[in-house]
C-alpha cells in the first residue's frame, strides 16, 4: 500500500501537464478556471489541439483513436486537464455518442461519424430529457414512426445543452408505443439542419444560455440513422449513462478552484487582515479541502482497483463519486462567492456566452462568482440527480 506513483506514471503526469499548459492557450484555461462560458470557437480549438495529439478520446477503442492507457494514466490525464483549466473534450461527442456508436453502431456509422466527432468537426447534442421525462427518463414521449426508409420524428426535447452550436443530435425516441416503457425506445441520429427541427433558448438563472428546448415537427431522417437495434435504445442510454465513472467527480477541477480561492483570500481583506486569516473562513475552506482529499483518495482507490476488475463491473464505491463530487464542486462556488463579497453583486451581461465585453466593476474574478454559484446548482441535478444516484446505490450496493 503506497501513495507514490511509479517513475513511469510520474513521467506521464509531467508529459500531460506540460502539454496542457503549453499547447492550450492561457486565455481559454483562465476562463475555465474562473467558471466563465467559452465560445464555440474556443471549445472547438481546444479539442482540436488535444485531438491532434491523439488525446481527445483516450477512452475510445484504439482503432477509432483511443489510447491503451492504464486506469492510472486516465486518472492522471483527467486530473492534470482539470487542474490546468483545459476544457474537457465535448462530452456529448467523446463520452456519449462516440462510445455508443463504437459499441452499438454499424461499420458505416463508425466510419462516417467517429473521426469527425473526435475532431469536433460535428458538434453533437443530447436529445434525452423531455418536459415530462426528467428523472423518469424512460417515460419519454417523442416518437419516431417508420415510414418507408425513413423515420418521422415528432415531439419535444429539453435541457439540450449547447444545441445552439450543434450539427447533430442523438435522440431517444419511442418507436413502439405498446411495449413496456424501456422496451419501445430507439436511439436515432438527426442532422440539426433537417427541416422541422426548431431550437428555442432557455435562459438559466445565472443569465446564461447553455440549454435549449428542441422541437421536432415531422422531422424526416433516414432509417439508417438508427443506432443498434430498433427498440433497444434503452441499452444505448444505459451504456452511455454508465460510461463516465471517475471523471465525473471532477476532483482536479475542485482542486484548482480551491487553490484559486486560497490565493484570492490572501488578497481580499477583512478589517486589517487578509480573509484567509479569518478563522471562520479558513475553517470552512479546510472543511471542503478535507472532503475533497477524501474524495480524491476514494477515486484513487477505485482507479487502483480497476486494474484487477472485470470491464463493466465498476467498484461499488464509484457510485459515490458523483454524489460527493457534485456537492464539493458546489461548495467551491459558495466559497468563491464569499471571497468576492460585495463585488459578487454587479450583474455583467454576457454576450451569448461569448465573454464579457463591458468593462468590469471590481476585481475580474468577482463577476463570475455569483453566476457560477447559481449555474452550478445544476451539477447535482443533471446526469441522474443525486436523489436518483441514491436510489441506485440503495438498490445496487445496499441491496434494498
Amino acid at each position: 500500500m503506497d501513495l507514490k506513483f511509479t517513475p513511469e506514471e510520474h513521467a506521464f503526469r509531467e508529459e500531460v501537464r506540460h502539454f496542457f499548459r503549453t499547447a492550450v492557450p492561457e486565455s481559454i484555461r483562465r476562463k475555465v478556471l474562473e467558471g466563465q462560458h467559452l465560445t464555440r470557437q474556443e471549445i472547438v480549438a481546444s479539442q482540436r489541439i488535444l485531438n491532434e495529439k491523439g488525446w481527445a478520446v483516450p477512452n475510445w477503442p484504439v482503432e477509432w483513436g483511443g489510447q491503451t492507457w492504464t486506469p492510472v494514466q486516465v486518472y492522471l490525464y483527467q486530473d492534470e486537464m482539470q487542474q490546468a483549466g483545459v476544457p474537457a473534450p465535448l462530452g456529448f461527442n467523446t463520452s456519449m455518442v462516440g462510445p455508443v456508436i463504437a459499441e452499438f453502431g454499424s461499420q458505416a456509422q463508425k466510419q462516417r461519424f467517429l473521426a469527425r466527432a473526435a475532431n469536433l468537426d460535428d458538434w453533437w447534442c443530447q436529445g434525452f430529457s423531455e418536459p415530462g421525462a426528467g428523472s423518469d427518463l424512460a417515460s419519454l414521449r417523442t416518437k419516431a414512426e417508420r415510414v418507408g426508409d425513413t423515420w418521422v420524428i415528432n415531439g419535444q426535447k429539453t435541457w439540450t445543452t449547447l444545441a445552439q452550436h450543434a450539427d447533430w443530435i442523438f435522440v431517444l425516441c419511442r418507436t413502439n408505443p405498446t411495449a413496456k416503457k424501456q422496451e419501445g425506445i430507439s436511439f436515432i441520429l438527426c442532422d440539426m439542419k433537417t427541416p422541422g427541427i426548431k431550437v428555442r433558448p432557455i435562459e438559466t438563472i445565472d443569465g446564461g444560455h447553455e440549454v435549449n428546448e428542441v422541437f421536432f415537427d415531422d422531422v424526416v431522417v433516414p432509417y439508417e440513422n438508427l443506432v443498434g437495434q430498433e427498440n433497444k435504445g434503452w441499452d444505448c442510454a444505459k451504456f452511455l449513462l454508465g460510461n463516465e465513472r471517475t471523471g465525473i467527480a471532477r476532483v482536479g477541477t475542485s482542486k484548482a478552484r480551491l487553490k484559486r480561492i486560497r490565493e484570492l483570500a490572501k488578497l481580499e481583506r477583512v478589517g486589517d487582515r487578509p480573509l484567509i486569516e479569518d478563522q471562520k473562513f479558513r475553517e470552512k475552506l479546510a472543511a471542503v479541502e478535507i472532503e475533497l482529499k477524501a474524495l480524491e483518495m476514494t477515486q484513487l482507490r477505485i482507479v487502483a482497483d480497476e486494474r484487477g476488475r472485470q470491464k463493466g463491473k465498476p467498484n461499488p464505491a464509484s457510485s459515490i463519486l458523483k454524489l460527493k463530487g457534485s456537492v464539493i464542486q458546489q461548495a467551491t462556488t459558495e466559497l468563491m462567492l464569499e471571497v468576492a463579497g460585495p463585488y459578487a453583486m454587479p450583474y455583467v451581461a454576457s454576450d451569448e456566452g461569448d465573454g464579457r465585453n463591458e468593462p468590469g466593476y471590481g476585481p475580474d474574478y468577482a463577476a463570475g462568482a455569483a453566476p457560477t454559484y447559481f449555474n452550478w446548482r445544476k451539477i447535482s441535478i443533471y446526469g441522474g440527480s443525486n436523489e436518483i444516484q441514491r436510489n441506485i446505490v440503495a438498490k445496487a450496493i445496499l441491496g434494498f
Binding site: M1, D2, L3, K4, F5, T6, E9, V72, K255, L258, K259, R262, Q279, R282, E283, L285, A286, A287, E289, I290, E291, L292, K293, A294, L295, M297, T298, L300, R301, V303, A304, D305, A317, I320, L323, K324, E387, R390, N391, V393, A394, I397, L398, G399, F400
Partner: protein
C-alpha cells in the same frame, strides 16, 4: 500508487479477522468485560501468540517490523470487534514512545516483554487543563541524584489501571506550554508515590486518574527536555490507528443497520423499502467510504518524516473520521429505533466507542483548526 496488501499483510489480515470473528462476538465481549481487569487475559495471550503485540517493533527488539499498514489492519478488525484489551495503550502508545524516544538499550529491555504479553504500558499525558494540547504539561520532573522525581496529576490515562509501567510526560524546564522542557519518563506503576484510580470509560474500556507525589522514575526516554517531537509523532501514529479502528466500527455499524432495515417490518413491510430511509442508509455508506479513504491516507502518511505534512494529513483524517463517525453513529441509532437505545444490543456500543474516539487525541474542531492553519491540502 497501490492500495493492495502485500502477501504478508494479507496473511495478517486473514488471521486477525478470523480471530475477531471467532472469539469476539458480542456475547463473548460481554464476558470479557466482566472479567476482573475489564478485558480478557486469555485474548491478550492470543494476541501475543499471533505476534500482534510486537507487530510494529523492530525485529532486533523481538518485533515483526510492521508499519502503519499492519497497524491499520489490526485496528480495523479490533474496531469491528469492539476490542477491550489494552492494545492501543500498550503497543501503539507505549510501544510507540519506546520506538521513537527510547534508546536501543531501552527498546531491547522492554519491547520483547511487551511482544510476549508480559508487560503492559500506558501513556500518562493528558492533564486537567491541557485538553488536547500536546505541549501543555504541568507535571514536573526534578533531578534527584542520578534520577528524577515526578510530581503532579495525569488525567484519563487509557488502561492506566492495569498497566505495569507508565510512560509519563513531565516538565524539566520552561513554563507550562513551552514546547521545550518536556521529557518522557518511565515509571513503575506500583512505585512509591504513584497512586491510581481506575474506572470504566463510557465505551466499556478503562481509564485512570494517576497522581505522582515524589514518585521516582526508573528511566527517562531520550532527551529529558526534548521529547515533544517524539510525542507528536506517536500522537500522529496513534490517530492513524484510531482512524482505522473507527472505520472498522463504522463499517460494522452500517452493516448492522442495513440488515436491520431489511428485516424489521412496520406498516406491513420491511422499513428498508421506504425511500426516505434508504437514502439515509446511502448517506451512511458515503460517509463510511470517505472515512475509509481518509484512514488509508492517514496510514500512508503516518510514517512520513516531514512532521508538518504528516500532521496536516493526520488532522484531516481525524476530522473526516469524527464527522463520519458521528453521522453514522447517530443515524445507526435512529434507523434502528428503540432497540439501539438498549445495552443489550450491539449498535449502541459502537456508537459509544465512535464518540470516545472523537474525544481522543484532539476532537474534530481542534483538528479542523490545524488543517485551517496550514497552507492547504492541495
Amino acid at each position: 500508487m497501490d492500495f493492495d496488501f502485500s502477501d504478508d499483510q494479507r496473511l495478517l489480515k486473514d488471521s486477525v479477522d478470523r480471530l475477531i470473528a471467532d472469539r469476539y462476538d458480542f456475547e463473548q465481549r460481554k464476558k470479557y468485560a466482566n472479567e476482573p481487569d475489564g478485558w480478557s487475559r486469555d485474548m491478550w495471550a492470543r494476541y501475543a501468540e499471533l505476534g500482534l503485540l510486537g507487530l510494529p517493533f523492530p525485529e532486533a527488539a523481538g518485533g515483526f517490523g510492521g508499519g502503519p499498514v499492519e497497524t491499520m489492519t489490526v485496528m480495523e478488525a479490533f474496531g469491528r470487534g469492539l476490542v477491550l484489551e489494552p492494545y492501543f495503550a500498550t503497543v501503539t502508545l507505549g510501544g510507540g514512545l519506546l520506538r521513537h524516544a527510547g534508546s536501543e538499550r531501552q527498546q531491547a529491555a522492554l519491547l520483547p516483554q511487551v511482544a510476549a504479553g508480559e508487560l503492559k504500558l500506558a501513556f500518562a499525558h493528558v492533564e486537567r487543563q491541557s485538553r488536547y494540547d500536546l505541549q501543555d504539561v504541568g507535571v514536573t520532573a526534578t533531578r534527584d541524584g542520578a534520577g528524577w522525581l515526578l510530581n503532579g496529576e495525569k488525567s484519563v490515562v487509557l488502561h492506566g489501571d492495569s498497566a505495569d509501567k507508565l510512560l509519563v510526560t513531565a516538565r524539566t524546564g520552561g513554563s507550562r506550554r513551552d514546547p521545550g522542557g518536556i521529557g518522557v519518563f518511565l515509571v513503575d506503576a506500583t512505585a512509591g508515590g504513584v497512586s491510581r484510580r481506575g474506572y470504566p470509560t463510557q465505551d466499556g474500556l478503562r481509564g485512570a486518574e494517576v497522581s505522582f507525589a515524589n514518585a521516582r522514575a526508573e528511566d527517562v526516554l531520550g532527551d529529558p527536555g526534548g521529547a515533544l517531537p517524539a510525542v507528536q509523532r506517536v500522537a500522529d501514529e496513534a490517530i492513524a490507528a484510531l482512524c482505522a479502528e473507527a472505520v472498522g466500527g463504522m463499517a460494522a455499524m452500517h452493516a448492522l443497520t442495513v440488515d436491520y432495515m431489511k428485516t424489521r417490518k412496520q406498516f406491513g413491510r420491511a422499513i428498508g423499502e421506504f425511500q426516505v430511509l434508504q437514502h439515509r442508509a446511502v448517506d451512511n455508506f458515503v460517509a463510511l467510504e470517505q472515512a475509509r479513504s481518509m484512514a488509508m491516507y492517514a496510514t500512508m502518511m503516518a510514517a512520513s518524516d516531514d512532521a508538518a505534512e504528516r500532521r496536516q494529513a493526520v488532522s484531516a483524517a481525524k476530522v473526516q473520521i469524527g464527522r463520519s463517525g458521528r453521522h453514522i453513529g447517530q443515524e445507526a441509532v435512529q434507523l434502528h429505533g428503540g432497540i439501539a437505545m438498549t445495552m443489550e444490543y450491539k449498535v449502541g456500543h459502537y456508537f459509544k466507542r465512535m464518540t470516545m474516539i472523537e474525544m481522543l487525541f484532539g476532537d474534530t474542531d481542534q483538528h479542523l483548526a490545524v488543517v485551517a492553519g496550514g497552507g492547504g491540502l492541495f
